[in-house]
């Protein structure tokens, strides 16, 4: 049984750790807390594994746990971090395939600003943006993952977009300028 556990642990952790980290990072806003959330989430997954019925995708179940852990994490942020994570720098980077170093630096800077803007939203709005964009989830998949109705998912996502647009326009005008491009109404649809 122990051997089976070892293999299951290695398989699941290896397959999902990066995706779990990315979602947690979007919600909690920094690398140190995101690593804590990764640990909490996987610990909870293995503790509750017997309750997973297979009625949904494993990833749907897993990401729901990650989102809940991320939101809960803010409430108990005062709890001492593990020594291994304590010394970690909160400096972050973003995956970028741009050819030139200048472009990569620009992407990194924009990534920082986007993350800073997202951090000003409520945890629920951050979570839905993270799942929608990082995991490219459809409305139906979002509804299943977050345990919400389709209508609530649509309105919450729209609220998140509006709130983010407001934050960027008011607090990060340089980001607004960077991503602004001549766009015609005809592009819609």
């Amino acid at each position: 049984m122990e051997d089976g556990f070892e293999r299951a642990f290695a398989e699941l952790f290896g397959r999902y750790r990066e995706r779990v980290y990315a979602i947690a990072f979007r919600v909690v806003g920094n690398a140190v807390d995101a690593l804590d959330v990764v640990q909490e989430s996987f610990a909870l997954v293995f503790r509750k594994l017997h309750s997973f019925r297979g009625g949904s995708l494993f990833s749907t179940w897993l990401f729901r746990i990650v989102v809940n852990c991320s939101i809960d994490h803010r409430r108990k942020r005062d709890v001492a971090r593990s020594p291994l994570v304590q010394g970690l720098s909160a400096e972050i980077d973003f995956i970028d395939d741009s050819p030139s170093p200048d472009q990569r630096a620009e992407t990194k800077e924009l990534g920082h600003q986007v993350q800073a803007a997202i951090s000003l939203l409520s945890p629920k709005l951050r979570a839905i943006l993270a799942l929608r964009y990082l995991e490219d989830m459809s409305y139906e998949h979002l509804a299943a993952t977050l345990g919400l109705s389709l209508g609530t998912v649509k309105s919450r996502l729209a609220r998140a977009h509006l709130a983010l647009e407001s934050v960027v326009r008011n607090r990060f005008p340089q980001l607004d300028t960077s991503i602004a491009a001549p766009d015609s109404v005809g592009d819609v649809g």
Partner: protein, 214 residues
Amino acid sequence: MSAPENQPPENQPRDRRDRFSCLPPTCRAFLCTFADNGTGAVDGTHAEQCAECAKQHSFQTRLGSLLSTRPISPELLRTTQFAEMLHERIIEAAASSSLGILVANRDSAPIHSSAWPEALLESEVARSTISATPQPSPAMWAKVRHSIMAGVSERRQPRHWRRLLLGITTAAAAAIVSGLVLSNGTTKESTIVFTDLDTMPGVEFAILRYGALR
């Protein structure tokens, strides 16, 4: 957007209104639809008529690529050390869980299925661990015994008092009866008086010749 943002609908309390709630239904429907890229059900006509919605759509389209850019995870996440630390955490959590504690204590005391959390009873491990013949614990039996003895003692006390009361009553009755008997036994000495029958004597008398008292 078509509606002024500072004029919320009147039927909603002020503290619950946000920018989205203030929009007219057509704008809300448009913003709810276009975020789901897969549906392709975006109302382009509305965007042509509503400059703010078109601007919002354009902003989201451009920001989408940045939102989709995954942050690079720290090297620590990919180290064996991190995985081992997580592994230990899972093992520790399992050991301190109700299942872990029950399994650890299995040798010292048999476990009855009623002592198990309901959620755990579904697992194979739990089923194989549950004792088939549950035994009452000594402490529980001592409590039961004490309770029985207390009940017996309570019943014994009234019975004692009843007997004492009965004894006293009997003794009193015996005393009264014997008193009566003794008092009935004391008779006055009879006196014989001879008198003339022409006049009635002033006491009870009997004429022996005729028999009974008159």
